[in-house]
């Protein structure tokens, strides 16, 4: 068992740099999820860890060993691919056995290990089938079986659930977590789905444009996003980001929004004001910190026109416009609101955050 260290990791294609010197330490048996939009460099980073992509700069350690020049087969890793990448001409059993055969494991031992892995993943009855005879979920399980059968130091998952339907995705999410509890192994999991990141990770690494935006436990990212990017990426619906200008001081301290409304800043959010380098800031407020008068208003009213009201059963989401930005409120399911009508949405600034408009970094 071993941890994983990325040291100033760089990937460059010609003169185009796609990963800009990443530093990260992943502890032994930790489950780390890389999340970010497509093209953010998360898959490239994973492929460098796997050895499928040449490392342009920096170092990768697995345990104490620098693996930059070690071939994928000798890194003692296992990878689950987005399209499963099962060997189509081999049976499920042969798929599981292949890596052990390549390492010259004795036949009897292979049989035992394959049987064990198959039992763990409940695919014993499928061992004689070809991948083409399996459903998506079953193929996913075989791909995981191929990874666990060799007991690697590190598991790598490259968007493994993106080809499954929504229901199966939730089920397999649980199964991967269960597997990780059963066989605690250092795991790097890449996804573009923030829900997967939040539900599965011990720690989440949010990437954007080849940089790490923030590393932290899921709730940490939710409650204290380091940048507006993280704030807008984590959470569904994401944090409202309202650009504005600081005005006044002391008890009159306020923020003038795009539509001219001035929101008085009270409570914890004031702490950030001192760090602001200019008056241009972004107010970040989670939809659950936005309310309406009928719910017993907390905070400052902002007049908006409601663009959309979405009753979801468990809650109702209301969207209003402030200038060019949208303000989303997460409300009780029984509120009576009508799209197109004017309304006052109340922003609870005590639960809000400030970001520097220029650097996009949090000011708290």
């Amino acid at each position: 068992m071993a941890g994983l260290v990325l040291q100033n990791l760089i990937k460059q294609y010609g003169t185009t740099r796609v990963v800009h010197g990443i530093n990260l330490e992943i502890e032994n048996e930790e489950f780390v999820v890389f999340v970010g939009p497509s093209g953010c460099g998360k898959s490239t980073t994973l492929r460098m860890i796997a050895g499928l992509e040449h490392i342009s700069g920096g170092r990768i350690y697995i345990g104490d060993r620098v693996v930059n020049r070690v071939s994928p087969g000798k890194r003692d890793i296992a990878m689950v691919f987005q399209n499963y990448a099962l060997y189509p001409h081999m049976s499920v059993g042969e798929n599981l056995a292949f890596c052990l055969q390549q390492r010259g494991t004795p036949r009897a031992e292979i049989a035992t290990k394959v049987a064990q892995a198959a039992e763990t993943l409940d695919i014993t009855s499928l061992l004689d089938r070809r991948p083409s005879q399996l459903s998506g979920g079953q193929r996913q399980r075989v791909a995981m079986g191929r990874a666990i059968v060799r007991n690697p130091e590190v598991f790598l998952f490259d968007e493994p659930l993106s080809n499954l339907d929504a229901k199966l995705r939730v089920q397999m999410r649980g199964e991967i977590k269960r597997l990780h509890r059963l066989i605690p192994t250092t795991t790097v999991y890449v996804t573009h789905d923030q829900t997967e990141a939040m539900t599965m990770a011990d720690r989440v690494v949010v990437m954007n444009h080849g940089h790490i935006e923030q590393v932290g436990r899921p709730l940490e990212l939710y409650e204290k996003p380091a940048t507006t990017f993280v704030a807008g990426f984590i959470g569904s619906p994401p944090m409202n980001l309202l650009p504005g200008t600081l005005s006044g001081a002391g008890d009159d301290l306020g923020l003038t929004l795009e539509n001219g409304t001035t929101v008085a800043l009270r409570g914890k959010v004031r702490a950030g004001v001192e760090q602001a380098r200019s008056a241009n800031v972004v107010l970040g407020v989670r939809p659950e910190a936005v309310g309406i008068a009928a719910q017993g208003p907390q905070g400052v009213p902002v007049p908006v026109t409601l663009d959309e009201v979405e009753p979801l059963g468990i809650e109702t989401l209301a969207y209003g416009s402030i200038g060019r930005t949208t303000l989303c409120a997460r409300l009780a399911p029984d509120v009576a609101l009508q799209a197109g009508a004017p309304a006052d949405l109340f922003i609870d600034t005590d639960r809000a955050m400030l970001f520097d408009a220029e650097t996009t970094r949090a000011l708290t």
Binding site: A50, G51, P72, G73, A85, L86, F98, R130
Partner: protein, 308 residues
């Protein structure tokens, strides 16, 4: 979902069912192909069967002689030796083409811009007709003023211009060289499509599983391109079994009729000895042999159904 709100048919009306396309349309569409097959394959084949039961000179009256042509054929040493020679040629030339085409396919299967250029270069001889290519090689091989002789003499590798068509193995080898030069590009393209049909992530999975280049090629790439290999094999075997032009033009069957192929001997009987009936009987025997070989290859294809 049998009705829509805006269409508003009464609930009693049966839902509209779209008619199946007319069956005669299908028949009409396949008629040209049927005509082609009928006129250019079935009719001549029937004609051949009919002629094989006759003593059928080029001029003069055909005479029905039953199975006499076939019984004569059974004891015809020259015909069977031409079949044996054709089989030898087929094995050698097919192996040679694969030995050249496979490395070429691996070479041009790279994400380099120049690979496309070489793909075209290697494929170019394929578009030349067999007769033209053979004639070209006859000139190249000419011991008195051919390019090969000139090159060999100037480089000092030989003292006298080689005359390959004057003995059996050199004659066979130069024909094989010519056919490999001309046909390897075609097999390369077929094998290339096979190579490119192997998904990248499967190859990567094999890398992570610890398979080296050789193990990956043998255990993953080769089995996954099986269909292309079999297609290339069937085509090469069939074409080689029907070889004619290259021997007719380069060796003219010599030396001492040792490079007469099956089709060549059919040609000689039919158009040199004017025994069209006997030639037809030979054609039928060759057809049976080819069908048997193809059936065997098909059986191998179906032995393990190809993965999707």
């Amino acid at each position: 979902m049998s009705e829509t709100a805006e269409a508003g048919p009464s609930p009693e009306e049966p839902p509209v069912v779209t008619r199946e396309p007319h069956q005669w349309l299908g028949a009409a569409l396949i008629t040209p192909s049927l005509l082609f097959i009928g006129l250019l394959f079935l009719l001549p084949m029937g004609m051949t069967v009919w002629m094989s039961f006759h003593n059928w000179p080029l001029l003069g009256e055909p005479r029905f002689i039953g199975l006499e042509n076939f019984s004569e054929l059974m004891g015809d040493r020259r015909f069977w030796s031409s079949i044996r020679f054709t089989a030898l040629y087929t094995v050698l030339v097919t192996s040679a083409i694969f030995l050249v085409a496979f490395p070429l396919a691996l070479l041009v299967d790279r994400p380099l811009r120049i690979a496309g250029f070489f793909r075209t270069i290697y494929f170019m001889p394929v578009v030349i007709g067999f007769g033209a290519a053979a004639t070209l090689w006859t000139w190249l091989l000419n011991p008195d003023n051919g390019v090969f002789a000139e090159l060999l003499l100037r480089s000092g590798l030989v003292d006298a211009a080689p005359r390959p068509t004057e003995s059996f193995w050199p004659a066979l080898i130069v024909v094989i060289l010519m056919v490999v030069w001309k046909q390897a590009g075609f097999t390369m393209v077929i094998l290339l499509t096979g190579l490119q049909s192997v998904p990248d992530d499967v190859t990567e999975a094999a890398k992570i599983d610890g398979a080296g280049p050789l193990a990956r090629f043998v255990r993953v790439t080769l089995p996954l391109m099986r269909n292309s290999i079999i297609l290339a094999l069937v085509l090469n075997v069939t074409w080689s079994m029907l070889a004619f032009d290259q021997f007719f033009i380069i060796t003219q069957g010599g030396p001492r009729n040792s490079t007469v192929t099956a089709v060549f001997s059919i040609y000689l009987q039919s158009f040199s000895s004017y025994r069209l009936g006997y030639g037809s009987a030979m054609s039928l025997v060759l057809l049976v042999i080819l069908v048997a070989i193809s059936a065997m290859q098909m059986a191998i294809v179906n032995f393990r159904k190809a993965p999707e």
